[in-house]
Symmetry: C2
Subunit: 136 residues, 2 copies
């Protein structure tokens, strides 16, 4: 199949597919006489795997590790488990950080309802000691 077909089959932009090839995440396919990339079912499956892992927030280097592990069927899958656990930990960390941020913004978002910027409490909160602005 051509890159366009693979693109539609995996909801991945053509440029992204070429990018994955360039960084060695997706193997380079055979070429047609006209130098077009020619993908097979293995490419389709591997790209599906990559996209799914990326959707789950795994970094490209982690996807690479997952692909490598998937290629060693005899190996114990503890490493795979660990990568997922690490990913969950990371996501939790991000959620907590965003929630802290959310709380702070909430306290900020009291709103000044039409008042002038000179009295804006939001800008005051962002810019401490703004009151002595004129004295400098």
């Amino acid at each position: 199949m051509t890159i366009g077909v693979l693109s539609r089959a995996t909801a991945t932009k053509v440029e992204t597919i070429r990018f994955y090839e360039r960084i060695g995440l997706l193997p380079a396919p055979a070429r047609t006489g006209g130098n077009y990339r020619s993908y097979d079912e293995n490419h389709l499956r591997q790209l599906g795997f990559i996209r799914r892992a990326r959707e789950l927030g795994f970094k490209i280097e982690t996807v690479r590790a997952l692909l490598s592990l998937a290629d060693q069927p005899q190996r114990c899958c503890d490493d795979v488990d660990q990568l997922v656990i690490d990913q969950i930990t990371e996501i939790d960390r991000k959620i907590e950080a965003l929630q802290r941020l959310r709380t702070e913004l909430d306290q900020l978002a009291i709103g000044c309802r039409g008042g002038p910027i000179a009295d804006c409490r939001i800008l005051d909160a962002l810019q401490p000691h703004r009151s002595d602005r004129n004295t400098i």
Copy 2:
């Protein structure tokens, strides 16, 4: 004050300060005879503002807009309010996306406890139709 002093005072790396100057977020300071940057209290305050806004997740272009608004004291601060509201909306969107992701990862993280990768349910979930791998 030198860039190093400003750096410590605002917990901002020296390179970041120079970066902010390059992109026009922080005004270029005066220079000493030895060509060292020489900052004053206004720089300190503005950099504090920038850092605080960045900590709250505002994009650089939004910080630029906030700074510009802060410089028009006569203006009504509805625009400032709106930027904060937009930011909260954006944060909420991210939190929701991460929580969905978290749920998906949880379902994945059943763990294969020592089994071989050939039976790994995680990789199965990531790589649909992996069973017909040998038939291709």
